[in-house]
């Protein structure tokens, strides 16, 4: 259980740094995906276990990044799935096809991102 205590730089941070350096394509350049199928896969294939059903992020060995309405370009998103930084498991095309990744990407784009804490007074206690 000591694995639970490991310190890991967030996948999001690492990925974002990589994207910044390479200037990959934006979200608008992503292949068209089927968000409904993406949701099915997201909930079936374990994405939700670390990232939450709402894409709100969570924790595995270290923090698991927020995916809701992600600003990550598709290529970076796919790269993280195929050859992830840190402890995220790598999903080969035997497990997730490129099409399925595109579907997942389309799904997380549909998830509402963060709102304003002002809309939820109990967050300001």
């Amino acid at each position: 259980m000591n694995r639970c205590k490991r310190i890991a730089v967030t996948v999001l941070a690492v990925t974002a740094m990589g994207l910044g350096a390479t200037g990959l394509a934006s979200a608008q350049d992503a292949p068209k995906g089927d968000a409904a199928n993406g949701k099915t896969i997201f909930l079936r294939d374990g994405c939700f276990t670390c990232h939450g059903r709402s894409g709100q992020g969570g924790a595995y060995n270290g923090p698991a990044p927020i995916l809701a309405h992600t600003a990550l370009p598709f290529d970076g998103f796919k790269g993280q799935i195929r050859n992830p930084a840190n402890d995220m498991p790598a999903y080969s095309d035997a497990v997730l096809s490129d099409k399925e990744i595109a579907d997942i990407y389309a799904f997380v784009q549909t998830l509402p991102g963060a709102g304003s804490p002002k809309d939820h007074p109990i967050l300001n206690n």
Binding site: R6, G46, C50, G52, P89, P117, I122, N125
Partner: protein, 645 residues
Amino acid sequence: MSKRRSSPGSSRRNFLKGAGLVGAAAAVTPPVAGNAMPAVPADKLKAAIPGPRQVAAETMPPGSDPVNQTSSGGDYMTDVLNSLGVEYMTINCASSYRGLHEAIVNHGNNKPEIITCVHEDIAVHMAQGYAKIEGKPIAMACHGVVGLQHATMAMYNAWCDRVPVIVFGGNIMEADKRAPGAEWLHAGVDIGQIVREFTKWDDQPASLQHFGESLVRAYKIATTPPMGPVFIALDAELQENPIPNPAALRIPKFAPVVPPQGDSGAIAEAAKLLVAAQNPVILCDRVARTPAGMANLVALAETLQCAVIDNAGRMNFPSRHPLNQSFRRGIIGQADVILAIEMNDLWGSLTRFSDRIERRSGPAYKPGTKIITLGVRDLYLKSNYQDFGRWQDVDLDIAGDGEASLPALTEAVKRLVDEGRKAAFDERGQKLAKAHLAMVEQSKIDATIGWDSSPITTARMCAEVYNQIKDEDWSLVGTSIRLSWMHRLWNIKKPYQWNGGSGGAGVGYNLPASLGAALANKKHGRFTVAFGGDGDFMFGPGTLWTAAHHKIPMLYIVHNNRAYHQEYMYLVAMAARHGRGVEKMDIGTTIKDPNIDYATVARGMGVHGEGPITDPKDLAPALSRAVAAVKAGETAVVDVVTDPR
């Protein structure tokens, strides 16, 4: 004498007389012819002619078996326990310590108060949770063999958590006193051996005076940093039989050990490094032993205006203190000096580690960073279980209790701070305060994601609970694995508002340890609140019966993700690594089909139950009712069906 007398005249005190009788009998009984071993020649036998006493012993019928006694060893044991101020003894009743049990109830008038538990694991975990709130141990008692085996996991948690617990295990040392059947199954030559690798000390007293000295010694050892559980085997004869000579017994005097401070020269060297540093970071885990601990750490941090990363093994540092950077661990990479105080896993906190096919690791700090350690943990280690963690290179290793050494270190720092350094410190502090505030705001923003989702997000759950209890004199005493929203969102600032985790990461800690903490909080009138996973809950749901029976108020939130979720994620990772489908990884890792109704379980145990709550809109009303029940003196369980993390 006790019922265990196996034959007239054969008690321990009659042992020598019995031997004499055997000798006399041998003198008059010829050896069996043929295959008998050659005996001493008959002409060498010089047995004395039996005297009147021996003749009487051989010819008179045995005396009547005494049926009453006016004292018991258990009375003395009770007196020793009370001399130490042990307030409670958590138990699962067992015949091997029935003498002590009865003595506590009648001789001690139920002081220490017996807390009835339905499992030994619950009883030890309650003691662990209690000690971390009250700052002193209570006792736990069980069968020395079968009960102790149940108790071991909790004792290991207490060991890893450096928490004092006094564990008693009943035993029947003398074989000729054991009744046929269970007493043989429940006795051992060295019953403490199964817990010796995770206790600080153990003993099996052979006399009452021995017991008195052992218990006081055990108490002292358990409460001397690094603290830990101790074990005493209680001989049943010793507990049950009359006190042979009460006037000769004394209760040993207990004087607590003053925790050791770090060497003054080493403290001065540490101060020099810290004052000269551009980006010092304090890393801590189990610093606060008493309410003074947090104040001492705050004083040092504020003097240095440096970052504090709290691993939260105790209530070390206020969650909203501007210097609290616990959720900005990346700053370890900027540190030029790291002061690690009472750390449990220093290497783990200073290392980047990848749980990949090839497990790789490397330092999270930059080359040249000076690492100072202050603590007592390494002063008492054992070999088998590897809770000491991997070796970490350090530059200055100070053996000294963290809490006790902090005032001297703070004063040493103050002596070295000139106006120039003070200005630099203030500038550093302002930057850290700004970063802390940004971190808090970001946490609030992150918490909004999925706000109205079902299953309920853990952020929403924690925010709703805080909203209900924030105006109470609350004490948070439990959380589930990786549930950190309380430390991100709540204003945790009083010494009793957090007490750390399980220590050994042994599942089954949260519910009973939280109730133990609630027991300690009860007399202070505090409102105890705890979170725990559903998997953890099912290791000891009987804890709730104890809560009802002893009327211990507590608000317990079941973080019900219907899984052993950490393991679920590990299995998904395994399947992905092996290039196989991950869709079946719920097999063996989830707790569903059927879903467990924890509120009904709670009501069945005699406490208030709410849930299962699946719609976030239903959470506030359910919590409100539960809070009212707790304020009325009950334990209340709220089953919140949540997203995993």
